[in-house]
Symmetry: C2
Subunit: 462 residues, 2 copies
Amino acid sequence: DVAFESLTPAEWFRRNKEIAGFSSPSRAMYQAIRELIENALDATENHGILPSIKASIRYVDKDKDLYSIYVEDNGIGIPEEEIPNVFGQIFYSSKYKIKQHRGIFGLGAKMVVLYAQSTSGMPVKVMSAMKGSQYIYTYEISIDTVKNKPVIHSHVRVENKYGWHGTAVKVVLEGNWQYAKSRIEEYFTRTAMITPYAEIILIEPNNEVLRFNRITTIMPKPPVEGLPHPSSIDLESLKQLINRNSDIPLIDFLKENFDGIGDETVREFLKTLGIRASKHVKRLSESELRLLAEKMRQFNGWRRPRADWLSPIGEKILANGILHVLKPEAIFVTTRKPASYSGHPFIVEAAIAWGGSIMPVDKPILYRYANKVPLLQDEGSDVIRHVIDEVDWGQYKVKFPAPLAVVVHVCSTKIPYASAGKEAIADVPEIEKEVRLAVREVARKLKVYLARKEKEQELLTK
Amino acid sequence: DVAFESLTPAEWFRRNKEIAGFSSPSRAMYQAIRELIENALDATENHGILPSIKASIRYVDKDKDLYSIYVEDNGIGIPEEEIPNVFGQIFYSSKYKIKQHRGIFGLGAKMVVLYAQSTSGMPVKVMSAMKGSQYIYTYEISIDTVKNKPVIHSHVRVENKYGWHGTAVKVVLEGNWQYAKSRIEEYFTRTAMITPYAEIILIEPNNEVLRFNRITTIMPKPPVEGLPHPSSIDLESLKQLINRNSDIPLIDFLKENFDGIGDETVREFLKTLGIRASKHVKRLSESELRLLAEKMRQFNGWRRPRADWLSPIGEKILANGILHVLKPEAIFVTTRKPASYSGHPFIVEAAIAWGGSIMPVDKPILYRYANKVPLLQDEGSDVIRHVIDEVDWGQYKVKFPAPLAVVVHVCSTKIPYASAGKEAIADVPEIEKEVRLAVREVARKLKVYLARKEKEQELLTK
Ligand SMILES: Nc1ncnc2c1ncn2[C@@H]1O[C@H](COP(=O)(O)OP(=O)(O)OP(=O)(O)O)[C@@H](O)[C@H]1O
Ligand SMILES: Nc1ncnc2c1ncn2[C@@H]1O[C@H](COP(=O)(O)OP(=O)(O)OP(=O)(O)O)[C@@H](O)[C@H]1O
Ligand SMILES: [Mg+2]
Ligand SMILES: [Mg+2]
C-alpha cells in the first residue's frame, strides 16, 4: 500500500541540506559564512556603499564542535517587517530580478538558520537598521519547517543613537574549524583579490585576525535593474507578464516589458506572425500566445541584450588584484563583450598569471569566479574546468610543470549554477563557448610573451 | 528601493532547472529519460514485479529539435486521484519513507513535465492502472507554476479489457539526440548490467533498437519500510514524530518509533538523563526535548541500524553483470557490512575488473552506482571519485596504463546527493570511509592475483 505525502520547501531542504552545500560539518561551516558574506556584499556594493564587513568565528563548545558565526555589514539594512521572512521563509528574496547579484535563490540565509537550528537548537539573532532609521531592530528567529514560516522568539527595538545602518547576523552551529580553516581563509583571500574597495576582517576561533584593508575607494558602477530579453521568453513567463500588466495593445506591451525590442523591428515581426500589433494583450488566444513565445525566442532581429544590468570586475581591478595576491612575473587580462544564453546577458573575464611567486604545477591553477564570488568546491562539475582541461597548452609554448595560473570570472543576471550550493557553473553551451574564447585570447598573449622570452634567451646564450 | 518576493517550488525550479540537471537540451533529454526509467524500476522491482520496461525516443520536429519520450512499465500503477499531484505538484512523493528507492525527492516526474511544457508547450500524457483495476485512466497534465498545482487538460477512463497494470508516460520536449545518444545508451547498458532480472527495450529516433533481455527471474528481496535510527534524530524530527503520535509514555514512544532501541538500554539511558521513562511524551518540556534529541544522537549504546530497509545488488549479480558486459580476465567483488551516517543505514559494494576486453587506461575507469542507478555526470563532485583519486595503485602492483575498471555501488535509505540531478554523492565522511575500505579490499584481492601472475611469468621465462 502506497502512501503519498507533500513537503514544504523548508522540510525538503531540512532533509536534503547537502543539496545546498551543507553536507558535512566543515563544509557547512564554509557554506554558512559564505552565504552571510555574500549577502553583506550585495547589501553594500550593489547600493553604492563601500563595504565594511566584520566577521568572527568563535568556539562555543569545543566538545560538541559548536561554533558561533557572526557577520556584520554597513549595508542598506532590512526593513523591520521583512526580517522574519528573510530569515524564516524559503524562496523569499529581493534578488529575483533581472540584475547581477551574488544572491539568486532566496535560500542562503534560510539554510544557515536551518542548519544552525538543526545542530545547535538555537535560533538566529539578527540586528538591522536601514539608512536614517530611528531604531535598530533585533529579532531571534527559527524556521517552522512544516509550514515554511518564521517563528519569532523575540523582537526588540532600541534607539539608533549613532545613526548606524546595516545588518548583523549571529548563529550557533556544528562545524569543524580544523578542516574548514584553509578553505574559509582562501575564500576571504580570493574575495579580497577582486574587491579592493571592501574592508573585510575575519576573527578566527584562535583569535588570529585575517584583515583585508580597503585599497581603493573607487567602486565599479552598480548594475541597474533590467528587462527580460525576448530570446529568453517562454510561454509561462509571457502569460505571467501579461497577467501583471493592464490590458494594453500588444506592441506597447512588448516594447515596455522587454529589452532589445525596436519599434520598426517588432511591427515587422508581428506582421509575419499575422497578429495585429494593436490587439489588446489580454485578448490573445492560447495558440497566439504559444506562437508569439516560440517566435520571439527564435527571432534573430532583436537587439543584443544590454549589459547595464551587469557589473564585471574590470581589467584594471582584476590585474591589480592578481598582481597583489599572486605576485606573478607577467599577467594578461581580457574582458569579453556581453553575450547571452537563453536571453540572459553575461560577460566573461579571463586572466593568465605567469611565473614570479607562482610555483610550477602539472596543470594550471584555476581561480573561478561567478558574479564576483570565488568558487572553491565542485570544480569537476564546472564548465570552466571542462574548458581549461581541453586547452592544448603546448601550442601556447607552455610545457608542464609550469608556473601558470588561470583566473576566469563569469557574471550574469542569472548564473546557471549546477547546484543550490552555488559552487559550479552548469554546462551551458553559450557560456562554454565564451569561456573558451576568453581563455584562448589571454593564452595567445602568454604565447607572445613566452616566444619573446625564448628569443631573448637564445640571444643571451649565443 | 527593495522589493521582496516569494516563489513556489514550481516557479523556483522552472527558473532554476539546471539545479535538477536540465542545463542544456542534450542533458535535459538524458535527465528526462532517466527520471522516468527510475520511476518505472521503483514501481516494479520494489514491489516484487519482474520489470518489463519499454522506452522510445522519437523525432517530432527535427527543425525545432523536438522529441517525444515515452516510457511504459508493468508496475503497480498510480491511484487515479493521485495522478494529477504525482505529475503536477513539486515535492509530492510516495518515497519520503525510510526505505531504499531510486527516487527520493518528489521532483523527478515534475521536472520532466516542467521542462517539456516550457520547451514544447505541451502537457504530459499519462496512462495508468493498478493491479486488478477495472479501468485504465488517462490524463493530460501541465503544472501551474504560480500555484505549484496540476492543471488537468483531459481526464478519460477506458475499460481495462486485458487486466493491464502499470504506467505509461509520454512527453514532447526539446532535446539533442546527437549529443545525448551515447550517454543515454551508456545509462541503459549500465542499468542492465546490474538489473539482469529486468527486460528493457529502447527504440531510438533512427529506429535502432537497444534491447536488454531478462537473464534471470531471481530478484533480490525488496526492502521493507524502516524506522528512523536515534543517531539521526534532531529536535525538529523528534517534535514532528511526537505530534503525529498519541500521548503515550516516553519509553513506549521511543521503542515503537525508532530502530535499534532495546528496552534495558533505553531505561538506563533515560535514567542518566533524569527524565522519567513513564512521562507522557506530549508533556515533555522544550528543554527536555532538546536534551533528549542531543543525547539520543550522541549515545553509543543503540544497536546498529538494520539493513532490512536496504537492497544491495549482491556479489553474484554484480560479478555476473560485470563479466557479461565488460568481459574481463579477472574480477574481484565485495559487499561491505551495513554502516550508517547520521543514522541512515548504507551498504557499499565494490568490484574490480581486470584485463580481458578492458582496454589499458591511464587512470581507472570508474562505474558509479547509487541505489542501483548508474551515475554518469558530475563525476568530479562525487565522493567515490575523490576516494579513487587518492588510491596509490602502485602498492597493489598496478602500473598505468593498465586494463583496470572499478565499480562502486552505494545503497542507502537516503543517498546524500550533491545536487537535485542525482548525479554525484556528497562528501559525507562516513561514506567516504566505507568506500575507501571497500576499494582497498578488492584492490588487495587484485594484488594477490597480479602477484601470482607475476610469479607464473617469472617461472615461464626461466
Ligand atoms: N546582510 C543583509 N543586508 C541586507 N539585506 C539582506 C542581508 N541578508 C539578506 N538580505 C535580504 O534577504 C534576502 C534573502 O537572503 P538569502 O540569502 O536567503 O537569499 P538571496 O541572497 O536572495 O539568494 P541566495 O539564496 O542565492 O543567497 C535577500 O534577497 C536580501 O534582500
Ligand atoms: N511509473 C510509475 N509507476 C508508479 N508510480 C509512479 C511512477 N512514476 C511516479 N510514480 C509515483 O509518483 C511519485 C512521484 O514521482 P517523482 O519522480 O516525481 O518523485 P520520486 O520518484 O518520489 O523522487 P525523485 O524526485 O527522486 O524521482 C513517486 O514517488 C511514485 O509514488
Ligand atoms: Mg543570499
Ligand atoms: Mg522519481
